[in-house]
């Protein structure tokens, strides 16, 4: 184990030795099986990453030692057994060393929580989030800016429940950051962030890049969400969607969820017990051989562009529809044999 960290870092750790050993002892009281070597390895790796990233401010590493150790204790415990969490945190520190050195405790915990939440949604989401965040590192954000960027990137990485926070953050962020986080080309003149945020708020299925460029978008887009719980999805049985008070809900026989979905992802929020007598297809949604009509809005099937090519629109006129709902922005459909909810998002429906 000796020699894991260079002498200049060792001198810094020595200054905090008592506090770090005491923190370990306190942690071990509640977690007797903690892997001590694992803690040291994680700490050495993170501390060395931080030291390298803060090469221009060697004094700043001092304030990071104890927070890094606290997060290393988590990494070696049951909550840290997330594949690659240590590496993700290392990349985060390397990308934003100055912000982290200003608020090490909060930012490291926020980042660790973000990675856990993203991983719980999709194994590749942490990678996507880091890649999106990397685009803002040249802006050297402050801790507050970093938290705003984190919300936007989390939304882009698939956490639909972060949409409201992300849209609010877009309105409060600079053009360069918004451009980097939403993938808007450098050739496009950035609209005013507040106006742009308002437009996004009204249209959860719009492509931000196209919206910023003012270019034409498909009339509707398609996504398949949910899936079988045994394969990492949500539902234990093929679900049925239904509408209640303008909200789309899905029920799989045992549990009921509110569907929060947009262009970048979906979230199923537990919604208590399903009202059995209200689970019925939305009568205002009609699936025809060439179009879907919802509340008087007709969308031709040929105009619906899948967001993910791996999940094309099913052959709706052939497959019977078991449940349907419309929430003002999208039509939700379920079929008898699929564990997925098929969503047709209508661009500009809410505008």
């Amino acid at each position: 184990m000796a020699g894991l960290i260079p002498p200049e870092l060792a001198a810094c750790v020595e200054r905090h030795r008592v506090a770090l050993n005491a923190a370990f002892a306190a942690h071990r009281a509640g977690h007797p099986r903690i892997d001590a070597d694992g803690v040291l390895r994680a700490f050495a790796s993170l501390a060395e990453t931080a030291r390298a990233a803060l090469a221009d401010r060697p004094d700043a590493i001092d304030a990071l030692i104890e927070p890094l150790f606290a997060i290393s204790l988590e990494l070696a415990g049951p909550r840290g057994r997330l594949p690659g969490l240590e590496a993700h945190l290392g990349r985060f520190i390397a990308l934003f060393p100055h912000a982290v050195s200003h608020e090490p405790d909060r930012l490291l915990r926020d980042a660790a929580n973000a990675y856990r939440t993203l991983f719980a949604r999709c194994v590749s989401a942490p990678e996507r989030w880091t890649a999106l965040m990397a685009g803002t590192s040249r802006l050297a954000p402050t801790p507050d800016e970093l938290r705003r960027y984190g919300a936007i990137a989390a939304w882009r990485a698939g956490l639909a429940e972060f949409r409201q926070a992300a849209v609010a953050s877009i309105g409060a962020s600079g053009s360069d950051a918004v451009r980097a986080l939403l993938g808007i080309s450098d050739n496009v003149a950035m609209p005013d962030p507040a106006a742009f945020a308002a437009a996004l708020a009204d249209n959860p299925w719009a492509d931000p890049a196209a919206l910023a460029a003012g270019s034409a978008q498909p009339r509707a887009c398609f996504a398949a969400i949910g899936g079988f719980s045994a394969f990492g999805g949500v539902f234990a049985a093929p679900p049925v969607v239904f509408a209640q008070d303008g909200i789309a809900l899905a029920h799989d026989g045992t549990r009921c969820f509110e569907i929060i979905a947009d262009r970048f992802g979906a979230h199923f929020a537990p919604a208590g017990a399903a009202p059995g007598d209200r689970i019925a297809p939305d009568p205002s949604v009609v699936v025809g051989p060439s179009a879907i009509v919802a509340h008087g809005i007709s969308i031709a099937l040929r105009d619906i562009a899948p967001i993910d090519a791996n999940h094309p629109l099913p052959d709706l006129p052939v497959v019977p529809v078991r449940g349907s709902a419309y929430d003002g922005h999208a039509v939700y459909l379920t079929t008898p044999l699929s564990y997925r909810v098929f969503v047709v998002g209508i661009a500009g429906a809410g505008a």
Partner: protein, 525 residues
């Protein structure tokens, strides 16, 4: 003059053969220190050996204290019963120690507060002076820094004086400079006969001891962390002034200066003949620098307290505060509530019926353990384990240290039925043995109940200590059911004792935490 070699000889290493490194302990320094096991220049290894060398130099060359009242055994120890009182004398099989030397040394290592009690001329002040020399101070400075308690001692005598010129010229209190007494800046502080200090001056001393600063005329002097040594000829109220309770409570350990064994008069003669004063001959290799004491303190705090042993200490500590008739609501059934109401807990305890008054340990005391007392037990027990070359506290360390920490903190109930039983009257005067007996009885009860193997409340506490993050609704509901079942079990037991009282309060705490968490989960959806 040639000094006989026996007075300067330091024991050869290892002073504790074959003991070191029983279990690897966590130390973040493993990331950078020398893996060969040799002490790296700055790694802080080997100070326990230096501390033991200091101990053996004091016992072999400085203070004639041929006692081994802190006994340790690592195998069968011969036992003999002597006298009409049938006292048991054990010949310890493992390295054992004299409390009179060991406890002051540990006090130096953890920068604690040690009170020497005993009759005049038994080496109390001499022992304190040697600790000062071990901390690196010249003998002359130590002697000048001793504060001798006497009935006319004023706050100015103790802390310092305002400069006379400033008193005349100053236009505000801020402008009055204070000539602070030099002892305030020392890392070893000695207060001789502290129970002869007037009450008002004791209060000023309390501020220095408790909060590490001195104050005169709005001027504040911040003192460094220090080891404190206080002496008292008669600690049971025989001093000129009653020691204020807050000051007494600040004392970490109490050490008895035992009598002089007349078989060792020959050694006294050798000193008289050679004119040797041991405090002038402290070998340089056992003198500690301030930085070494800091490091030693840090190493001591890093000694681990095993969970099972901590649970045993919890069980012991839970015996004393509970007083069933003290309150209606469960939280107020404590001796402290009785004392705050101006009543005597012992009198109230007499009203308790249905319990064995001789077996309930709580009935033997008039108070419970303070947080400070428990923290002191933890620190000094770790210090003893460290001194014995261990990386982890053992039950023997805990048993050895508890009486010295609680000596003045656990007040005996003189009317306790236990003390009336045959053979127990000795515990009225021998507090060290009484507290050790209390600890043994608590451990026996702990073993009888089988708490090491079956501790449902401990298991619930452990589960909660792992944190609520990620706990599902189902798991939280299961925990609530387990808590309520445990409460049902306590309801059926009918009799309440200290440990059950603490368990019930812990269950109530856990129930509330899980209930709030569940509510939060529901709100979150």
């Amino acid at each position: 003059m040639d000094v006989p070699k026996q007075f300067t000889k330091v024991s050869e290493s290892p002073t504790l053969p074959g003991k070191r490194g029983a279990r690897k302990t966590f130390d973040v320094a493993d990331l950078y220190r020398d893996p060969s096991g040799e002490p790296a220049p700055d790694a802080g290894l080997g100070l326990d050996e230096k501390l033991r060398k200091a101990y053996f130099w004091i016992t072999n060359s400085a203070i004639i204290t041929p006692f081994y009242d802190i006994e340790f055994n690592d195998g069968p120890a011969p036992e003999y019963t002597v006298g009409d009182s049938k006292s048991i004398v054990r010949l310890p099989s493992a390295q054992s120690y004299s409390s009179f030397v060991l406890l002051p040394l540990l006090t130096l290592a953890v920068r604690g507060k040690c009170l020497f009690v005993g009759g005049p001329g038994r080496g109390k002040t001499a022992s304190a002076i040697i600790m000062g020399v071990l901390a690196g101070y010249p003998l002359i400075d130590i002697k000048r820094a001793i504060q001798h308690g006497q009935p006319q001692m004023t706050i100015a005598d103790l802390l310092g004086n305002p400069l006379p010129a400033d008193l005349m010229k100053a236009e505000s209190m801020d402008a009055i400079r204070i000539a602070w007494r030099k002892w305030l800046a020392m890392r070893v502080k000695i207060i001789d006969e502290y129970n002869r200090i007037p009450t008002r001056t004791q209060s000023a001393l309390l501020t220095v001891m408790a909060d590490n600063y001195a104050e005169i005329m709005d001027q504040v002097y911040e003192c460094p962390d220090a080891a404190w040594y206080l002496t008292a000829n008669d600690d049971a109220g025989g001093g000129t002034y009653q020691v204020i309770e807050a000051l007494r409570d600040r004392i970490d350990v109490v050490v008895h200066a035992l009598h002089f064994n007349s078989r060792f008069i020959g050694e006294l003669l050798a000193r008289v003949d050679s004119g040797v004063k041991p405090e002038t001959l402290v070998p340089g290799e056992i003198i500690f620098t301030g930085e070494e004491i800091d490091r030693m303190h840090a190493d001591i705090l890093a000694v681990e307290m095993p969970r099972a042993l901590l649970r045993r200490l919890e069980h012991f500590a839970s015996q004393f505060e509970f007083c069933e008739p003290a309150g209606e609501q469960i939280e107020y059934k404590t001796k402290d509530v009785v004392k705050l109401a101006g009543e005597n807990p012992a009198t109230l305890a007499e009203r308790e019926t249905g319990k064995s008054k001789a077996k309930d340990l709580g009935l033997q005391t008039a108070n419970g353990l303070s947080v400070r007392a428990i923290m002191t037990i933890l620190v000094f027990t770790k210090a003893l384990a460290y001194f014995r070359g261990a990386r982890e506290v053992s039950p023997d360390d805990l048993r050895a240290m508890v009486p010295f920490v609680l000596h003045d903190k656990l007040v005996q109930n003189p009317d306790a039925s236990f003390l009336e039983e045959q053979g127990n009257a000795v515990y009225r005067v021998d507090r060290v043995s009484w507290i050790r007996r209390l600890f043994d009885l608590s451990c026996a009860e702990y073993d009888q109940v089988g708490l090491d193997k079956n501790d449902p409340v401990g298991a619930l506490m452990d589960a909660f200590a792992r944190g609520l993050e990620g706990v599902t609704r189902k798991q939280a509901e299961e925990a609530l059911v387990a808590i309520e079942r445990r409460m049902d079990a306590h309801q059926k037991e009918r009799k309440l004792h200290g440990p059950i009282f603490d368990d019930i309060l812990a269950l109530k705490y856990l129930h509330q935490r899980y209930r709030n968490y569940l509510r939060w989960l529901e709100w979150q959806g």
